[in-house]
Assembly symmetry: C2
Homo-oligomer: 219 residues x 2
């Protein structure tokens, strides 16, 4: 259905191995967590030798990036989707941010590891570059949305504001795994932070107003 099968056995096998390794890693990370899973286990489950894993991913982290880049992209798409209907720009950005955050909460520990590897890992690696490109796209989308709602704003401010929104999202995901602020509702805090960044302190009527809005009304 896709391309004509000009693939020889060699390329075919490589493609299958790539898929098996990817799938094995995804399963193991989901079952036991990124930190606890070993590359040997990934190799075993994929039915390849230990060294073979590293012909398909430069590092263990790259396996995580491969897997979560997809999740990240899909969450953004979902958030953009629910922002499609006419909507206040702030709410549109919120729906993107909260979609990513909610997706992260499916496995907070692995998502935190993803954020860590994405932003602090070696830049040379392929899937990290891909992940950073997704971040850049997300920031672009947000900046564009802000500009559409406020054409008098200059482009650089919109871009920097979008970067700040991502920074807050990044730290929100990071802190959700390590219970740095145990008493707080991380989701609500993130929502309020984005609101404060986009609408400014002046526009927040009261804290109660920002804080008490219904949990379910985002999307």
């Amino acid at each position: 259905m896709t391309a004509p099968q000009v693939l020889g056995r060699r390329e075919r096998n490589m493609q299958l191995k790539h898929e098996r390794i990817f799938a094995a890693a995804a399963e193991l990370f989901a079952e036991r967590g990124f930190a606890a899973a070993t590359t040997q286990e990934v190799a075993d489950r994929a039915g390849v030798a230990a060294g073979t894993v590293f012909r398909y991913a430069a590092s263990k982290s790259e396996l995580l990036l491969m897997i979560y880049n997809r999740m990240f992209r899909e969450a953004i798409a979902e958030g953009v989707g629910s922002a499609a209907r006419p909507m206040d720009a702030v709410d549109a950005v919120q729906s993107i941010v909260m979609a990513v955050f909610d997706a992260s909460m499916a496995s907070p520990e692995n998502s935190a590891a993803y954020q860590r590897e994405l932003l602090f890992g070696p830049a040379s690696e392929r899937y990290r570059a891909e992940g950073l490109a997704i971040v850049a796209e997300m920031e672009d989308t947000i900046a564009t949305r802000l500009l559409a709602a406020a054409p008098e704003m200059d482009a650089d401010s919109a871009r920097l504001t979008a970067a700040s929104v991502f920074a807050v999202l990044h730290l929100g995901i990071a802190r959700s795994s390590t219970q740095a602020h145990p008493g707080r509702d991380a989701r609500q805090d993130l929502h309020d932070q984005v609101h404060l960044i986009l609408a400014g302190p002046a526009s927040s009527k009261t804290q109660a107003g920002a804080n008490q809005q219904q949990k379910g009304n985002q999307r």
Copy 2:
């Protein structure tokens, strides 16, 4: 000979070893970078066995946290100090943020590693907890300063805004080591981001304008 010697040889030796290990780690990380230095080298330079290092620091990361917590604290104090004279609240926060950022630029790679370990490391460790407390203090200081300038603002908004400022600083330090945005001036971007967060999009004229603004313009 200095303090009253109530210490036995035992405690005295432990104290000296702690200092030697701390100093050896600081030197090695400065010379070769955190990632390249090994705990064996730290032990050798401190004149102790490999295992002894781990009686004084729970992990290699803890060595880094020990060292950079001090730098972080001092940078904040310096920033707070230069914000002591009467000053616009936005500028006061800027002086804190930029002091930390500038201090980080003395060794961007290690500072990025510090941010990584601080926010993503295991919470149980002693020096990480200490570092997080410094972050909390910094956010408190910023929140208090914002409230002083705008008493009508509610406390939670100030706190969340301060957290956003830290998030942007954190990511700024992270990106300064990995050249994620090569064409950009990271310092200027950080400055502008803080300005946008604190003063809101409406008040920003241009990038240059944000940089060159007068000190006296009240909010």
